[in-house]
Amino acid sequence: MNLVRSIKMAFKSIVARRGRTFLTMLGIIIGLAAVITQITYVKGQSKEIMAYYESMGTNQIQISAYKWGSGSANLFQSLYDYCLQLDDLVEGVTPNVYIWGTVQYGTKNSDTMDYSPQLYLGSDQWSLCNNFTISQGRDLTYLDIKAAHQVCVLGSRAKELFFDYSDPIGKTITLSGVPFEVVGVYARKDFSESAEMGWSLDNVIVFPYSTTRALAASGQDYSDMSEFVAKAKSREALTEAVTRLDGFLAGLIGDPSTGNSYGHYSVYSPEQGRESTEEANKKQENMMAGVAAISLLVGGIGIMNTMLVTVTERTREIGIRKAIGAERRSIIAQFLIEACIICGIGGLLGILASYPACWIYCRKELGYIVNPDASIMITGVVVSVLLGVVFGMYPAIKASGLQPVDALRAE
């Protein structure tokens, strides 16, 4: 029994029962479309999260520390000195103080912007610790910090917002009325989808932390520095550095768990967060795979059911075929091919259906369109054809085992 003829014959019998076949296919179509949509969504989501961590900088250690009654500048100095001691583990450390304020240049005012820039107070090591590199002009320098120069560096997005395509170097912007000279621009580092939407990590302006006094003169008090960022030398040094810094701050501020603390502190590495996020994503993907297996299993059972009905309906035909010389394996092949074609077509339609499903779902949940992976789709078709083999096997074997006499007697 050659394959082409078998396939042709299977198509004939499928077309003859197209209504019922389509209903059976629906199980596979919906199952597969749902699976592909979920996997695509999870992939898109985790890609976004990974891109975020990636652009935040690698080997970053975020430190939050506050000590009652002690000047925050003193706290940073101690932290800075300690990090110098850890020079085999820690590459740099900087205050990373997020501040509120109105930035103005000419008619451009941050208060009227849809996405106003994020303002930070930092040291000359701020760009190092936050994974920024200079693309134009110069970075903050040690001298800027020491002498409390009223200068600032713009992220690429902030530069576009205030200066469009003109050269910002040497221009003066004001922060809460206090003038700052733009000395440099950082290269763009955030290429994520959300950056296109406006939420860009490049929408930042950095000022020397030592200018708090000048800012204080304008009535703005930014002297409460409690956020710092350090950068570990390597992935290996990261865990060690986190432990050391944690121990150092425990000694400096006091362990909150003993009740003898004089403030609060926390040391946290996004890298570690990233690992747990990766782990969670993996778990979610596995769960999706589980759901996939279940929904496709149900679809497969539907196929088996239909094939059993088909075998019963066609008992006489099977009898005829056996009487004129069909071997068992010809009968098995015939019904298996039929099941595989139903599943294969269902799989293709499921993939087709997964496109709009992905577009709508990801648009709604992520804010942008994600297309299913080619690899998922190939797997999808292969899996659905395999389902045909697995769930068509029992009905096919049942059909082939019919005794010709009994089968011919059937109505």
């Binding site: 029994m1 050659n2 006489r316 005829i320 010389g325 071997e327």
Partner: protein, 231 residues
Amino acid sequence: MLIQIQNVFKIYNEGFENEVRALNGVSLSIDRGEFVAIVGQSGSGKSTLMNILGCLDIPTYGDYHLDGTDITERSDRQLSHIRNKQIGFIFQGFNLIPTLSAYENVELPLVYQGIRAREREERVMDALERVNLADRCEHKPTQMSGGQQQRVAIARAIATHPPIILADEPTGALDSKTGQHVLEILRRLYKEGTTIILITHDNGIAATAPRVVRISDGVIIEDRQQEVTWL
């Protein structure tokens, strides 16, 4: 001997209260090129005999040698091959596959034989021409009359050039005129050397066969040769 069965029993529910002995010790020999009518009332066991002769069923006890090979020893697969190559079936209810055209129905046994497409086409068209249906080859069984359907079934039976044609009440579902036509085709095949085994309950039809085997209650009660006018 082409067909030789010896002391064949077919017993259903053996040993139970509802035991049925469809065949109760039947012995029969049919030589190559014979035309045999097996006659009996319904329930006489003639259909069971035909199923066993056609290798569709195996006897509970007894021997069956077909062309020298012992059928009772054969596997399912080997029986398929024997049915495919040695026997052409013609049934009362035609037993064509409704989703396939006349051509495809006739082609099917050749497909199972693994014959190449070109030769298949020749043999299918040849068989359909012999039953005068070459022009109807694309028709589905439902688009044909009973007589035409039975002729398609005959074409399917002869397409493989089997030495034996086994016809089970081939005229049962036809009016007398088309029935005669079908019988004429069988006679022509007989004259060409094919062994014809015709199962019928109709004594009129049996009277036209050169050899008549009468069966009743699972045993052969008469086996005689007779003169026929058409020879």
